[in-house]
């Protein structure tokens, strides 16, 4: 129903809205006084309400960082929980300003959905979760299995490709929401639950008998989980992109939420530029000079956000792996701020 309403809203806005280009998103956000951020309906580590009802997670932190950069206040964010089916329509129709919801960056989404992916917040790949009691050690042993997945995801397509290219029989059972999918897997409807591996780690925590389930070693796809904004607003695109790169650069330069105030006096020219002591780099993208100070002091650098959301400081205990900085053998690479 929600899906239908969102589609209808998009239809109505497309049908009735005037042809003129939308006003700049940054101005709209400043005018309303908060950032509307599209997140998942509850995925531990990425976007999930905690015991107090506060949204937390790596995807949430990106929205908080954008709010910190714009308002100097990371709490000026309102969250819209979106299912996989609703997410792009919600962004297209203007329901959210930014989509930070573990969405895979693909060519067709970038080209035809009226959106632009800014940067990869988390490098992921699709994996399989099975019961230990099945005695399966590899995905190649899954011939004839039933696979539960969420409909409208790249996962649904990858799983079809994987079984087809390996000549394995399978049955796909696709559900609308993550909750329904997990429940069906738990009740034994499927041997296999498939999703991005990070999600499997997170969702395994939700299972009653979580030690009875194991994640198979194979990754069957590339899933760069990226943040997206509406196409056609280059300023907003730049802001969201550079907030992420800013957090990466801060981590690389060793600027943390603890030492950012001291770093303001650093003699290092790189750090001077980043923190606005030299030049006006923040102003060039429509923010303030101290944009990165705001972000790092209120939200932290990328490494801090990673550790407390999905890494060592969280129940998920995911290694940095591909998400380590490029200097440490990973893929996260922030272009220079100069």
């Amino acid at each position: 129903m929600k899906q239908f309403l969102t589609a209808l809203a998009l239809g109505a806005s497309a049908v009735f809205a005037s042809g003129a280009a939308d006003a700049a998103t940054l101005d709209q956000v400043k005018q309303k006084g908060f950032l509307q951020c599209g997140v998942s309906t509850g995925l531990p580590g990425f976007s999930n309400p905690d015991a107090k009802g506060e949204w937390t997670g790596l995807d949430v932190d990106l929205c908080r960082a954008v709010a910190a950069a714009v308002f100097d206040d990371p709490t000026k964010v309102r969250f819209s929980p979106l299912t996989a089916k609703d997410r792009f329509t919600a962004l297209q129709s203007g329901e959210v300003d930014i989509l930070s919801r573990n969405s895979t960056w693909t060519l067709s989404r970038d080209a035809t959905q009226g959106l632009n992916f800014t940067a990869t917040n988390y490098y992921d790949g699709q994996g399989f979760l099975v019961r230990k009691s099945l005695g399966v050690k590899s995905a190649m042993e899954l011939n004839g299995a039933s696979v539960c997945t969420q409909s409208g995801t790249t996962t649904e397509l990858n799983v079809a490709d994987f079984f087809r290219s390996n000549n394995l029989q399978y049955e796909v059972v696709a559900f609308q929401g993550q909750e329904e999918t997990l429940k069906a897997y738990e009740s034994g409807r499927c041997e296999v639950f498939t999703s991005d591996q990070s999600q499997l780690y997170a969702l395994r925590l939700k299972l009653a008998d979580k030690d009875e389930h194991v994640i198979l070693p194979e990754l069957i796809s590339k899933e760069p989980l990226a943040t997206a904004v509406r196409q056609g607003d280059d300023q907003w695109f730049d802001i969201v992109k550079w907030v992420h790169y800013g957090m990466l650069n801060a981590e690389e330069a060793g600027i943390t939420s603890q030492n950012v105030k001291d770093m303001l006096n650093s003699p290092n020219p790189d750090i001077k530029r980043m923190l606005g002591a030299e030049g006006n780099f923040g102003e060039q993208i429509g923010l303030t000079k101290d944009w990165l100070v705001r972000i790092v002091s209120k939200v932290g650098n990328y490494g801090e956000a990673f550790d407390r959301s999905v890494g060592k400081g969280s129940p998920l205990q995911i290694e940095r792996g591909k998400n380590a900085l490029w200097t440490k053998g990973g893929l996260q690479y922030g272009p220079p701020i100069r």
């Binding site: 998009l10 011939n143 004839g144 056609g232």
Partner: protein, 400 residues
Amino acid sequence: MAITHEGPAPAARPPSTSSIWNDARFRGNVAQVVVVVVVALALGAMVWNAQENLSNQRIASGFGFLDQTAGFGLNQTLIPYSESSSYGRALLVAILNTLLVAVVGIVFATILGFLVGVGRLSKNWMVRKVCTVYVEVTRNLPLLFHILFWYLAVLAAMPAARNSYSIFGEVFLNNRGVYIPRIVFGEGSLVGFVALGIAIVGAIALNRWSTARREKTGQQFPVFWTSVAMLVALPLIGFALVGFPLTIETPVLRGFNFVGGSRLLPEFAALVVALSIYTGGFIAEIVRAGIKAVSHGQSEAAASLGLKPSLSTRLVVIPQAMRVMIPPLTSQYLNLTKNSSLAAFIGYPELVQVFAGTTLNQTGQAIEIIAITMGCYLVISLVTSLFMNWYNRRVALIER
């Protein structure tokens, strides 16, 4: 006293020179043309504006996507479908799955509704109360709960494939659904099917002949039992002639699941059960109201003519009750069809799940896809109500 006109005669109305605008019919036609033109222009402007906005926002539009490769799998396909089929093909599969649920659901809901509706009028206190409780419980709970209950509660109670409940080693019941043996028709089976066809035609002819004879002479003929005998015996003889070329394929456990035989998806079963039970509650009330609407004098008259109670119900009360029941029954059938869209919550691959869900998300063409989906439901519903209206006219009281 006669009233006469005195004084000057009233001015004569010159009919030929009157403005054409004074003609009510002409004015009506002009108004209709204007309304149609305005509506058409408004629609045209909306479509044009939508296209313009979509292309400004760089969102793909048009119906070309229907030919593109879908790339996703579906677990219930009544027509051949694979991952390399097109989105259009996936749409067709989804429509057929929706129709299957609707038709099977309507049949079960009707049977259930009739039994319970008649049961509510039973003279037996127990039967009456059980039926009342059924009606009050089913129609006062939201349908989504019915569906989730039958899916999750029943699924959780079922064993895994390796520990299936087995009935005589032929039928298997587990959390993957119900597996039943399938009859595979070998060479020469055509003879048997031809015999079945002859039996069906024969039964229809027999029915017509006996009706005509009864109306003429009043003599009864046991049409029902003769027809049943014919429908069983003729195909049997047909297959016997060619030496029974039938083999039975029993489902066997191989790997994780059973292979062979026919399979009923648990999603399908849960959806049909939930829709039938829910809609059955409403139909029961319609049936009860229909029977109550036939005045008591009718059955008394039938009794005084010497008709047995069973005959009086079948020949006098039910035909009159049908007239009252058909129009609300049509609404229930339409509701059931549309309600099948809730299947998206339990992963049954029907229209909303496959097309307005997966396909919409893979292609991002929300406007086209929602329009097609609405169009499909509209056509299905209109065809259903056309059929029911035709049936309604047939059973309507023919007044002479």
